[in-house]
């Protein structure tokens, strides 16, 4: 049996609406994410994909249900326990979330300065190695505003990986990037995952490209899990809603890629 990195058990999350009612974003959602594999969470806008990541990180509470990380129930944890949980994760945000007032070097060094006991010399060595690995050398003294979208993503990725996380969460990692840069970012994921061996959870609607990386796919629709399967199995499924999804999203490009 595969080791489980993250497990959702019957999780419900809703938000208050302007009219006083509640909008259910996740409706009794259950799934597991295996260790060392890549899980892609897809679905249209407003289907609760990013909310799901925030729930995992304890940035917002669940209404009901449980979330387990490596078998440990982390639902509603606080204080030091929450800190210990978060230290296991690396997060690449949709807009990179780099600190505008810090240079590239300072951004990448921040988690090490704040959360490790390394000396400044050791931090410098590690940060410079990471920047070189992500082809960012020569840019360490620049500020985020001076970088292109793709470079910002790479800096965000370098920062997220500094504390050697067990699990990496990617929130719409290629939004706003051109096709060439998108492919570059996905190649980077594949490369870094191979090197570091982290469990990856990618929230994206960049289908079919992101599906090439996936070991399993979760499609959210109206608060429920519509599809939960491997891309290959989805490809050959005869279930009408999966056939529809494959035809409408991956289409022939992905099919031909698989056949090749």
């Amino acid at each position: 049996m595969e080791a489980v990195a993250i497990e959702f058990r019957d999780v419900v999350k809703s938000f208050a609406k302007q009219d006083g009612g509640r909008q259910i974003v996740l409706d009794h959602v259950s799934f597991t994410i295996p260790v060392g594999k890549t899980t892609v969470i897809a679905g249209g806008s407003g289907q609760g994909k990013s909310v799901l990541l925030k729930l995992i990180l304890g940035l917002m509470p669940v209404d009901s249900g449980r979330i387990l990380v490596a078998g440990e129930d982390v639902t509603g944890v606080r204080g030091r326990q929450l800190e210990r949980l978060r230290i296991r994760f690396g997060v690449l945000f949709q807009g990179s979330a780099l600190f505008d007032s810090l240079t590239v070097y300072e951004n990448v060094a921040l988690p090490l300065r704040e959360r490790s006991t390394k000396s400044e010399a050791e931090i410098r060595e590690q940060v410079m190695a990471s920047l070189a690995q992500l082809e960012l050398n020569g840019h360490e003294e620049k500020f985020p505003a001076q970088l292109s979208g793709g470079m910002r993503k790479r800096v965000g990725l370098a920062r997220a990986m500094q504390l050697k996380p067990e699990i990496m969460l990617f929130d719409e990692p290629t939004t706003g990037l051109d096709p060439v840069m998108t492919q570059e970012i996905y190649d980077l994921f594949a490369r870094t995952q191979e090197q570091v061996g982290y469990t990856a959870v990618i929230v994206s609607h960049d289908i079919p490209k992101v599906f090439n990386l996936a070991d399993q796919v979760i499609v959210l629709n109206n608060g429920k899990i519509d599809i939960f399967d491997s891309p290959e199995a989805m490809q050959w499924s005869r279930e009408p809603h999966i056939v529809d999804f494959v035809e409408n999203t991956m289409g022939k490009i992905y099919q031909s890629h698989l056949v090749e």
Partner: protein, 263 residues
């Protein structure tokens, strides 16, 4: 119709209670951050520079013009009773107990408070604060507490500067322009200003500093929870306006309360 009104009133009351609770918890966490280690001394100094040194010119010109106006107005009023010798005393007491702490706090709210609010609001909407939390870095210790401590140190110092410059401005207007005797201006001030008056002004400046930094940073930090703020850049601009208005009003309200209690 009637039910709608009751529902809206209930919603408003709930929102106010929630907001007070949220801001109370925020103040507690900001204070707690002062005892968390490592203390960010460099950030504290950067904030001191921004709030304190950066406000010196604004405070200088506001104080000078306020002091000079007080000198002229005071002379005009006191002259009617033949008491222009009391001008130094009137100017000094007004500045030390009232105008110094109030105007300094309001000027800092407008200059540094609005900037702190916008900075935190932008950090919130661009997920920079979420990023800090995800790295298990306490955003209070990292971002908020240095601002609180810097405001609590620099605003009383700016108030002292305001008092000195204002008194000097009153001297220039009263003595050099209106011909009041310099000895009586200075002697009147020395004889009427007591330690209690200075203490009252100092207490006020600390309380106002806390109000300004608490409200300004709190509005920015909670940009998404503020009712009617909207989303994105618009929400930041709205909470920034709210921060300056609320800070200024609370300074004026607390000025009355503190005067009534401590005078």
């Amino acid at each position: 119709m009637q039910r709608n009104r009751v529902a809206k009133l209930g919603e408003t009351v709930l929102y106010i209670v929630q907001d007070i609770g949220r801001m109370g918890l925020y103040l507690w966490l900001a204070c707690k951050g002062a005892f968390s280690r490592p203390f960010r001394f460099a950030e504290f100094m950067r904030q001191m520079h921004f709030i304190g040194s950066g406000s010196v010119m604004v405070i200088f010109f506001t104080a000078a013009s306020t002091g000079m106006v007080l000198g002229l107005q005071g002379y005009y009023s006191l002259n009617k009773f033949g008491a222009e010798g009391m001008l130094g005393s009137a100017v000094a007491l007004t500045l030390i107990m009232e105008l110094g702490p109030v105007l300094t706090a309001i000027m800092v709210a407008g200059r540094a408070g609005s900037a702190m609010c916008a900075e935190l609001g932008i950090m919130r909407i661009s997920e920079q604060i979420d990023a800090l939390e995800c790295m298990a870095v306490d955003p209070f210790r990292y971002l908020i507490t240095p601002k609180f401590l810097a405001a609590l140190v620099s605003i009383p110092l700016l108030t002292a500067l305001f008092d000195v410059v204002g008194i000097a401005g009153g001297y220039v207007a009263g003595v050099h322009l209106m011909g009041v005797n310099p000895g009586s201006y200075l002697e009147g001030m020395k004889s009427s200003v007591t330690n209690h008056d200075i203490w009252l002004g100092t207490v006020k400046s600390f309380v106002f500093a806390l109000l300004v930094v608490w409200i300004s940073t709190g509005r920015g930090y909670f940009v998404y929870q503020i009712r009617g703020a909207g989303f994105g850049a618009q929400s930041v601009s709205r909470v920034t306006t709210q921060a300056v208005v609320f800070s200024s009003i609370s300074v004026l309200v607390f000025d009355y309360l503190l005067t009534a209690i401590l005078l």
